[in-house]
C-alpha cells in the first residue's frame, strides 16, 4: 500500500500540489488531469526523484525516502520522456538498467527476453537505440520499468507515441499487472483508463478533486448528459462537452441539470466527466 499523506510541493512561490492525500492499493490507479495540473510532480515524488515540502509518502507504513533503496527495489518507473546512450543496443541498454536494479546477468538476460517478447520487440534486441521509432522507444521504456518485477509501477503518459494496436496490447498488459501490483498511470487520454482503471484520481487547481471508481464518477453525471443537433444553440445552464458528426450533421453533447425537451439523454462516460470537470481549463 502506497500512501500519500498531506503532501505539498512548491517551486519557489508556485504551489504545484497542495495538501494531497491518496491511498494506492493493488490495482490500476489513473491520474487524470490536463497538462500542468501537477500529475508529473506527484509522480516524481512517488518515485523519490523529488521530495515534498510538506507531508510524507509511505510504502507499507514506512517513509519511502527512509526506505531508500528498499523502496526503489520494488519500484518501476516510466518517465514521460527518457534519455539513453544512442550507440547502445536495446539489450545493452536494458542490461545496464537491470544491473542498476541489482539483477545478475543471467537473470537479467532471461527477464529481458521475456519482456521484449511481451512488448513485441524480440526482433529489435540488437538494434541500436538511435534507430528505434517513438513507439518502439516507448515499448523499451515499458520493458525497463518491469525489469525488476516491481510491486509499484508508475507510468507517466505511457501510451504517448503508441499506435492503436500497441495501445490495446499495453492496456491488456496493465490490466493483468494491476491484478497483483499497484499500478499508477498518469494520462490525459481518457480511453486508456476507462476500461482498466480500478480508481480514477482527478487533480484540479493543484489539489486532489476526487479518487473514485469509473462507475462512481460516471454516476454523478447519469441522467444529465444529452445530445442535440448543433443547429440549436445551447440554452442557459447547459454546459457544452463536445461535438460529433453523425448522419444528420453536427451534434452537440452537453450537461444539463434539467431535462431539455429538444434533446435526447445519453449515458455518461468518463470523457464526459473529464470534459465537465476540466472544460474551462482545456478550452
Amino acid at each position: 500500500m502506497l500512501t500519500v499523506k498531506n503532501v505539498t510541493k512548491k517551486y519557489g512561490s508556485f504551489t504545484a500540489l497542495e495538501d494531497v492525500n491518496i491511498e494506492f492499493g493493488i490495482g490500476v490507479h489513473a491520474l487524470l488531469a490536463p497538462n500542468g495540473a501537477g500529475k508529473t510532480t506527484l509522480m516524481k515524488m512517488l518515485t523519490t526523484l523529488m521530495k515534498p515540502n510538506a507531508g510524507e509518502i509511505l510504502y507499507n507504513d514506512e517513509n519511502i525516502f527512509l526506505l531508500d533503496d528498499k523502496y526503489r527495489d520494488v519500484l518501476g518507473y516510466l518517465p514521460q520522456s527518457f534519455g539513453f546512450y544512442k550507440g547502445h543496443t536495446v539489450r545493452q541498454f536494458l542490461l545496464y538498467l537491470a544491473a542498476l536494479k541489482g539483477l545478475g546477468k543471467k537473470q537479467a538476460n532471461e527477464k529481458i527476453d521475456e519482456l521484449l517478447a511481451n512488448v513485441g520487440l524480440s526482433d529489435a534486441a540488437s538494434l541500436r537505440m538511435k534507430k528505434l521509432s517513438g513507439g518502439m522507444l516507448q515499448r523499451v521504456g515499458i520493458a525497463q520499468a518491469l525489469l525488476n518485477d516491481p510491486q509499484v509501477l508508475i507510468l507517466d503518459e505511457p501510451t504517448a507515441g503508441l499506435d492503436p494496436k500497441e495501445r490495446v496490447r499495453f492496456r491488456n498488459m496493465l490490466s493483468e499487472l494491476g491484478k497483483t501490483k499497484t499500478v499508477i498511470l498518469s494520462t490525459h487520454i481518457v480511453s486508456d483508463v476507462e476500461s482498466i482503471a480500478s480508481r480514477v484520481i482527478l487533480i484540479k487547481n493543484h489539489k486532489l478533486l476526487c479518487n473514485e471508481t469509473v462507475q462512481q464518477l460516471c454516476s454523478q453525471l447519469n441522467g444529465k448528459v444529452f445530445e442535440r443537433t448543433a443547429a440549436v444553440a445551447l440554452h442557459d445552464g447547459e454546459v457544452f462537452l463536445s461535438e460529433r458528426q453523425d448522419a444528420n450533421g453536427l451534434v452537440n453533447r452537453f450537461v444539463s441539470h434539467s431535462v431539455p425537451a429538444d434533446a435526447s439523454p445519453v449515458n455518461a462516460g468518463l470523457e464526459d466527466v473529464f470534459l465537465y470537470v476540466y472544460g474551462e481549463e482545456i478550452q
Binding site: 518515485t47 523519490t48 526523484l49 533503496d69 539513453f84 546512450y85 542498476l100 541489482g102 546477468k105
Partner: protein, 243 residues
C-alpha cells in the same frame, strides 16, 4: 492424519529469500561494502557504460598534458607536477558529468536500486586509482629527464590529487554535480597558476625546498579525508527530477 502441507513454489521461495536478505542485511555503510555489493552484479562494463568515449578522451588529454609537463617544465617542475596531477581525475569527472546530464539518463538511473551517486562513488575510486597509477611513471620520467627528486615529485602529485578529490567531494556534498565539476577546475587553475604567474621562482623554490617527508603527512590526511567524505557522499540523497 493429512500431512499434505502446501509448499511454496520456486518463485515464492526466491521472493521470500529476497525479502529476508533485504531485511537482514546491514545497510550499505561505506563505500567498500557498496563496492563489494556492486562488483557482484555490476562489473567494469556497466561501471563505464556509455562513458567509454569520455575515458578515452581523458586518457588522451592527460597523456598530452603530462608529456608537455615532463618535456618542458624544467624551471617549474614541482609547481607543474602539483598543478597538473589531478588532471585525469578532473577531466574524467567533467566529461562524465557533462555526458550523463546531456544523455538524460539520470531520471531512469535515479529510480534504480543503485543510484547515480552510488555509481559515481565507485567511479571516483576507479578514476582515483587510475590517477595514482599514472602519477607514478610521470614522477619517475620527470625525475629522470629533468633531474628532479622522484619521491618529492610523487608526494607532490599524490598531495595535489587527494586535495583536489577532497575539494570536489566537499562541493558534491553540498551542490549539484554539474556545478561542482565545472567550478572546481577554474578554482584549482586559478589558485595554482596565479602564484606561478606572479612569482614562479619563489613558488618553485618553496616546493623544491620542502623536505619530502613533510609531504607525507598531508598526503595521509587528504587520503583519509577523501575516504571519509566518499563514505558520506555514498549516503547523499540526491534529487534527479530536474535532470
Amino acid at each position: 492424519m493429512n500431512y499434505d502441507i502446501p509448499m511454496p513454489t520456486a518463485e515464492e521461495k526466491n521472493a521470500a529469500v529476497k525479502v529476508i536478505l533485504c531485511e537482514a542485511m546491514p545497510p550499505k555503510e561505506n563505500v567498500f561494502s557498496l563496492l563489494r555489493e556492486l562488483s557482484g552484479v555490476f562489473g567494469l562494463r556497466n561501471l563505464f557504460f556509455g562513458i567509454g568515449d569520455c575515458v578515452y578522451l581523458t586518457v588522451l588529454l592527460t597523456f598530452l598534458l603530462y608529456t608537455a609537463v615532463v618535456a618542458m617544465a624544467k624551471q617549474v617542475l614541482c609547481s607543474a607536477v602539483f598543478t597538473a596531477s589531478p588532471f585525469l581525475y578532473l577531466a574524467a569527472w567533467l566529461l562524465v558529468v557533462w555526458k550523463e546530464e546531456k544523455s538524460g539518463m539520470l531520471t531512469l538511473q535515479g529510480v534504480c536500486k543503485y543510484t547515480p551517486v552510488h555509481v559515481s562513488a565507485i567511479r571516483m575510486l576507479c578514476f582515483g586509482g587510475m590517477s595514482l597509477l599514472v602519477d607514478i611513471p610521470v614522477a619517475a620520467i620527470a625525475g629522470v629527464l629533468q633531474a628532479g627528486d622522484f619521491w618529492k615529485l610523487l608526494m607532490l602529485s599524490f598531495c595535489a590529487l587527494f586535495l583536489y578529490a577532497v575539494l570536489l567531494l566537499c562541493l558534491l556534498l553540498h551542490c549539484k554535480a554539474r556545478f561542482a565539476v565545472s567550478v572546481l577546475p577554474v578554482v584549482w587553475g586559478s589558485l595554482c597558476l596565479l602564484p606561478l604567474l606572479k612569482d614562479y621562482v619563489q613558488c618553485e623554490t618553496f616546493l623544491r625546498n620542502l623536505p619530502t617527508y613533510s609531504l607525507v603527512l598531508p598526503v595521509i590526511v587528504f587520503a583519509v579525508l577523501y575516504f571519509v567524505l566518499l563514505n558520506r557522499y555514498v549516503r547523499k540523497e540526491e534529487e534527479y527530477a530536474d535532470c
